[in-house]
């Protein structure tokens, strides 16, 4: 047995004498999947949290090392299964850059990619908000969020044929063009959804009970967030304007107008659970803005034409030059990265490492939950908004 494991076993054995060891999960509704948190508690106070991962480990990296790039795309969908489009977008972008075809992709394809990614981001944030409400004890917002998310799921199913795991974005193009009438239906959805967000804010965001449960709880200082590699709404909740869509300006994001919402400590202090929640609410608004801009372009100058073929630029064989490349992009949860190593001879990469944002975001949990109440721990866990599919990969 290795030394660290011995130390850990001893610590748990000692803690069981003086304090209480409490297992939260792996089958616990508020751990959002199969995460096991081992809590060392003194009464109601959490002295230490030890997360145990791996219950949903599906060997993504091993799969990627034994399949071609095109065949790996469905596996990327299964990482963050709440925002599959964003995952495959990142993966595909990396492969395209290595092949040197990223500049040849037609504008219409890029706009469709951004459109579906932003729709998927909205869906992912809706889940985050809805399940966060249910963690805290608000049941209705959960139902409302799922009702509205269902419209997005329906649209994406229409486009790709699948509800959650799309396999829609391919290297060099798309599976299919958008179905006829998609843009109109999408616009209808945006018009329907905007007032629903106002309702949701009235019900949950400004709810005094909700604010009391989340403000000043789980405060994540900015330096800690950066040092732990937090990204996405976690990092922005701590007050830093860091969004890779703006920093790297990949795809067509430089052509779109959007703001980067950050946590301001409006209800408590900067970087508390409420701030992280609010960043997601604001991001939905920004995503809606981007969706509208994409629709404008797709309906005017980038209209569908009968001869438009979304698979025209697809390479027959994907064999990148011998090189290493790390691609990063802003997934729904934060910085999503893929590190490729190719030998230049084979269609199969020698090494693929995926950097899931939830993985790093979750690693900060033991740090910010020292000395909190058990009930507050639930609030903190919910505010991190991780997906175990991506933590364990």
């Amino acid at each position: 047995m290795n030394e660290a494991l011995q130390r850990y076993t001893k610590k748990i054995a000692n803690a069981a004498v003086e304090d209480m060891v409490l297992n939260m999960g792996p089958q616990h509704p508020s751990t959002h999947g199969v995460l096991r948190l081992e809590l060392i508690t003194d009464g109601e106070i959490v002295k230490e949290v030890i997360p145990h991962l791996g219950y949903l480990h599906r060997c993504f990296e091993k799969h990627a090392e034994s399949l071609t790039y095109q065949q790996t795309i469905p596996f990327t969908d299964r990482m963050d299964y709440l925002a599959s489009m964003n995952n495959s977008h990142a993966f595909v972008m990396g492969v395209e850059r290595m092949m040197g075809i990223d500049k040849d992709i037609p504008k219409r394809i890029e706009y469709i990619r951004v459109l579906v990614c932003e729709l998927n981001r909205i869906a992912s944030h809706l889940i985050a908000i809805g399940t966060y409400g249910i963690d805290i004890g608000a049941f209705t917002p959960f139902l409302w969020c799922f009702r509205d998310r269902e419209h997005i799921m329906g649209m994406l199913e229409w486009a790709s044929g699948s509800r959650m795991l799309y396999n829609y974005i391919w290297v060099g193009g798309l599976f299919y063009d958008l179905p006829v009438g998609f843009e109109e239906r999408c616009r209808e959805f945006v018009d329907y959804f905007k007032p629903k967000m106002v309702e949701l804010n009235e019900l949950l965001t400004d709810n005094q009970v909700f604010i009391s449960r989340t403000a000043n709880v789980g405060v994540l200082p900015l330096d800690v967030a950066i040092n732990y590699g937090c990204s996405g709404p976690m990092l922005r909740g701590s007050g830093l304007k860091w969004d890779l869509r703006r920093i790297d300006g990949y795809s067509v994001y430089p052509e779109l107008e959007f703001d980067i919402p950050v946590g301001t400590g409006l209800m408590g202090s900067v970087g508390d659970c409420w701030d992280r929640y609010k960043v997601r609410i604001d991001e939905i608004e920004q995503s809606l803005k981007m969706v509208e801009q994409c629709l404008d372009r797709l309906q005017k100058e980038l209209k569908r034409t009968p001869e438009f073929d979304p698979r025209a630029k697809m390479p027959r064989k994907i064999i990148p030059k011998a090189q290493d490349y790390y691609v990063r992009c802003e997934g729904a949860k934060g910085e999503l990265g893929f590190y490729f190593m190719c030998d230049g001879k084979s269609e199969i990469p020698t090494r693929v490492k995926s950097r899931g944002p939830s993985f790093s975001n979750l690693s900060v949990l033991p740090e910010i939950s020292k000395g909190v109440m058990i009930a507050d721990l639930i609030a903190i866990v919910g505010s991190i908004d991780f997906v175990l599919g991506e933590v364990d990969r």
């Binding site: 290795n2 790390y326 590190y339 490492k353 790093s360 364990d392």
Partner: protein
Amino acid sequence: MSFEGIKALLAAKFGADVIVGEETGGLQSALLIDADRITDVCLELRNNPDTYFDFLSSLSGVDYGVEVGKFGVVYHLASIPYKTQLTLKISKENSRDLADLPSFPSIYSVYRSADWHEREAYDMLGIFFEGHPDLRRILMPDDWEGFPLRKDYKNAEYYKGIKID
């Protein structure tokens, strides 16, 4: 700061032998660093006001294959104030014997995000990190035998008497 500037800065601070090579052919350039001094290099790159690489994006363990007989770690650093990226690589030859794991210094003391990433590299590739406070397996069960992402890994047939298929 440019790639050449970083090279000059490290050479001036630690001597020219800290950089054992570089890879500049591809889209991203990488610096090959002397494996034993990676912690100091990272600390300097993080704290120096000209570089401020304060964000560790990713840390990947790499098995370079059975013939090469080499293991390595690749660090992807990002600087939030300067919006730049840098790749560092370290590697060591190794006999691939499970009793003799390749060992590198841990950068846990510089970036806390390395904590779980190093545990993952240990879990998947059997790379040991000296100075890591809690180097347990993270994704596989504690009693798993072998390291699944090694190129010579043979799939286990049984786990605790249960047939895997």
